[in-house]
Each structure stands twice: as C-alpha cells, then as structure tokens.
Symmetry: C2
DNA sequence: GCGGTGCCTTGATCTGCCTCATGACGATCA
DNA sequence: TGATCGTCATGAGGCAGATCAAGGCACCGC
C-alpha cells in the first residue's frame, strides 16, 4: 500500500502502550516512532464494541476518528424504505472517519467484537498539524480506499451474481487476517459477516448469495467447511470467474 | 468542499499564466499564492484533447497527474468481454491521477474538447514536498472523491432504474458548469455525455436510460429541450424519486 | 428432551431490466 | 434533395435475479 514510505516501522520496547497492538503495522501508526506513538495513543481512548453494536450512525455529527485494532466493522447506508447498501468492511488497522463533511454519510457497526482507538477530530487534527508526515499517510489511505470503492463500482454496475460472489471471496482472502474473529484451519477463509451482510455488500438478495455459493461448491471451486469457513479448491478458476 | 481552508484564494495580476483559468478556484491551485502558482504552472505543461481522445489507458504506467481546466472527462474500466463501467465524470477543476499504484486502474478519456495541466509525478511530488499545505488539499480532494464513489455504490447496488436516472440528473445539476461544452438557456442542464456514457455510469442499458428519461418527461418532471439539454419542471418530485 | 428462535438453503414463480428489432431524427455530404 | 450514418427512441419478448414459500440446522433456555 505504501508507495513512498517515509521511514521503517519503529520497534517498540515491552511496556509501550501499543506494544501488543496487532494492527499497528497496517494502521496509520506505521509512520510514527515510539515517542510519537505514545503521545498519539494518550491523546485518545480505547473503546470496545460487541457484535452488532454501533460506532456511529449515518447523519451523526462527525466528532471522532478511529483506528480499528481488532474485529470487523461494516459501513452501511439505508434508503428510506429499508433497502441497505454496505459500502465496505473494515479490518484491523483500517482507519475510520475519513470525511470532509460535518456529518457521517454512513453508519459504522461492529459485526464481531471489536476494539478501536478513538480520537476527537480536534485533537487528531492538532496532532496531524504537528506531525506533517501523517498527512501523507492519510492521503495514501484515502487514495487506497478510493481505489477499492471504484473497483466495487465495477462489480455493482456490471458483474453477474456469480462474478460478484467469486470476486467477494477473493477480496476476503486478500484481506484475510487473524483478528477477524478466530482462525480456521490452515488455508481456510474466515467469513465473519452474515449472508445478509454479504448480500447488501454485493447488491444481491441473500437467496442469490446462498445459491451462488452452493453452485461454486457443486462445481468444486470451493468447499464450505461451515457457513463461516470457506476453502478454495480451484483458485485459478475462481479468479477467472471473478473477471468474467 | 473545503472544511479547513488554509488561506483565502490569491488574487492574480493580469499577465499571470493562470489569470484566465476558470478552474483555478475549484482546483488544487486554490491554496497556492501567485508565486507558488507561477512556479507550479511552469513545472508542468498544458495539453489539449479532442472529444473521444484519451488521456491514459487502464494499465498504463502512472507517469503524470493532471488538472482539468476545461472540458469533461470520463473514467472507465472494461471487463474482458466488453462490458464497461464508468466510475465517474470529471469537470473543470477536478484533479486526475490520484493513485498509490504504479498503474492506472481506469481509462481517462475526453468526452468534449478538453484542456489539462499536466505534471510528471516526480515533479509533482517534489512540489508537494516543498509546499506541505498541498498535502492537506490532496487529502481533502481524495476524501471528497471517496464520498462521491460511496454514494454511487448505493445507487448501483440498491436503486431502481428510475431512481438512478433521477439521481443522475440531480448530480449533473449539482456539478453544472459553464465549461462543460457550452451554455444552454437559463436553468437548462447541459448533458455533455452520450446515452451510452450515462448507461455505463448508472449500470443500465441505453434503452433503459432512454425509456426512463421519456417516462420523466411524460410525467412532467423534466422537459427535454434537445437530447443534450434538460430542464427541471418539478425538482422536488425528482429529488423524492431519486431517494426512493 | 423439547420447543423456540435465528440464520441459511432450496424450490417455485414473478418481474424489472435486458436483448433484439425497427424506426425516427439530425448531421454530413454528394 | 436525397443518401448514408450515427445516435436516440420505442416496441415485443426473454432471462437473471427478486420474491414468495417451505424446510433444515445449530443454538439456547427451560
């Protein structure tokens, strides 16, 4: 993700508040050294959310920004009649709260137990002002998210149901992480979200998602160990299918 | 768009290379003063493209970044079998080339005669390094684009054909600009792109776009002066329809 | 064990948009 | 003026995915 790394990641001494943080090397924190990180961490708070709990709602005043340190979140939006679109899932290390508006455009909810580092926007902005290399890091993150969103536009605008589900599995695999709610057997992909979340991410109904997964299983491209655990049997065919 | 303006826009003397630039106040240039702007401008080149001509292709090495000063561009991507998705349209003042990758993920083409300020990435990065407030401006632009892309995800994932077309017209009106290829009568919306471009932006077929426009016309929500010129008759109903 | 609950899967039918086909209209040019 | 071409509009029918409906399975409290 880093195209222009500023410096190597700092090595932290035991006892540092971020010593145990599994997400640090993926997070915005990557560009901070031990002292900066200590100062940064102490300017915010750590918050925990159970599965299903909410971080903020669409329309809420954007008072804070967050770093997800463990768990998985979904970013979603509702139409007045209840139709829902999920704009993305967040994994450990992801930054939450990129916006230039006063209000959040999307709702953020935990889909498994999650922990976040929370910072008020005022304090965060002040910290960025005094640590200018963070600005570049933020730009890189925003550019990365933009590329991902545009990729998803292609999926939603032009791909078939089968292509969407195949793309989703590959995307999930690329983001595979040990903090997403437990580890499966070696090589298994953990699917931390429900069929309903997958459907609302892919612009499909849950019945269609279920049918396409069954079809992939029937044609021996994947194996479904449990409903939340998937293993690739033929990744090459899956990649081919994902691109049409 | 600016939430944290750094300074007011500079006033340029006649004879300044950017004096006539209609896009300056919308562009990244907004945060540069007269001297900075002169230096910036001279570090790049001005390029022109006729309607249909290409700026870069998906997969091309990302050697330059651009500022669109006049005209309209489309950002698109093709699937192997020819299906096309347009990720967005660019209007004067828009920045082109946000990416952390070595290669462009989308193709950029002019849909009307257009002019751009072109900068090599190396020179642009160097200029940003010596003008740190540009970094924040870039972040704001990327955040803004991200919000727009996510809004489009909702449209593509969950809206009906009628809702998509209504949303598109409102979006176009919000971006209305005198540089989009000519001015219509007062209150008319210029639609610089073809039905085919609209369809590939909205994830529909051109026949469906045409039918929905005819339906809006028949129900007296819009009037079609020419195929490229639309006037709102009942904007409130249109907004209602756009959100379901 | 047993009934209840929530989520997932599978089947049958329906429908909104796509596909295919045709015609209208304007622009360009002989 | 008429021929040709490209874009847009409109009509008829088909299909991918939605909708409606039923059943399976894991988990939970009693």
């Amino acid at each position: 993700m880093e195209m222009r790394p500023i410096r190597a990641a700092a090595v932290l001494e035991a006892g540092h508040p971020c010593f145990d943080c599994a997400a640090r090397l993926q997070a915005i924190c990557y560009v901070l050294d031990g002292n900066e990180l200590r100062e940064f961490k102490s300017s915010g708070a750590t918050v925990a959310r159970a599965a299903g709990e909410n971080i903020f709602f669409e329309g809420d005043t954007a008072t804070h920004v967050y770093n997800l340190t463990s768990g998985v979140l979904r970013l979603s939006k509702l139409l007045p009649d209840g139709r829902r679109q999920i704009a993305g899932f967040l994994f450990p290390g992801d930054f939450l709260g990129i916006t230039m508006e006063d209000q959040h455009a999307f709702t953020a909810e935990a889909i498994v137990p999650s922990t976040l580092c929370q910072f008020s926007r005022a304090r965060f902005d002040a910290f960025v002002d005094t640590h200018p290399h963070l600005e570049r890091r933020l730009y890189a993150i925003a550019a990365h998210e933009l590329a991902a969103a545009r990729q998803q536009l292609v999926l939603l605008g032009r791909k078939t149901a089968a292509e969407r589900v195949a793309s989703f599995l590959l995307l999930l695999d690329a983001r595979r992480t040990s903090s997403s709610g437990g580890e499966g057997l070696e090589g298994d992909i953990i699917v931390p979200m429900s069929r309903s979340d997958i459907a609302d991410y892919l612009g499909l109904r849950i019945e269609t998602v279920s049918r396409e997964l069954s079809a992939l299983k029937a044609s021996r491209l994947i194996r479904l160990t449990t409903t939340q655990t998937i293993r690739f049997v033929n990744r090459a065919r899956l990649e081919q299918m994902a691109e049409g």
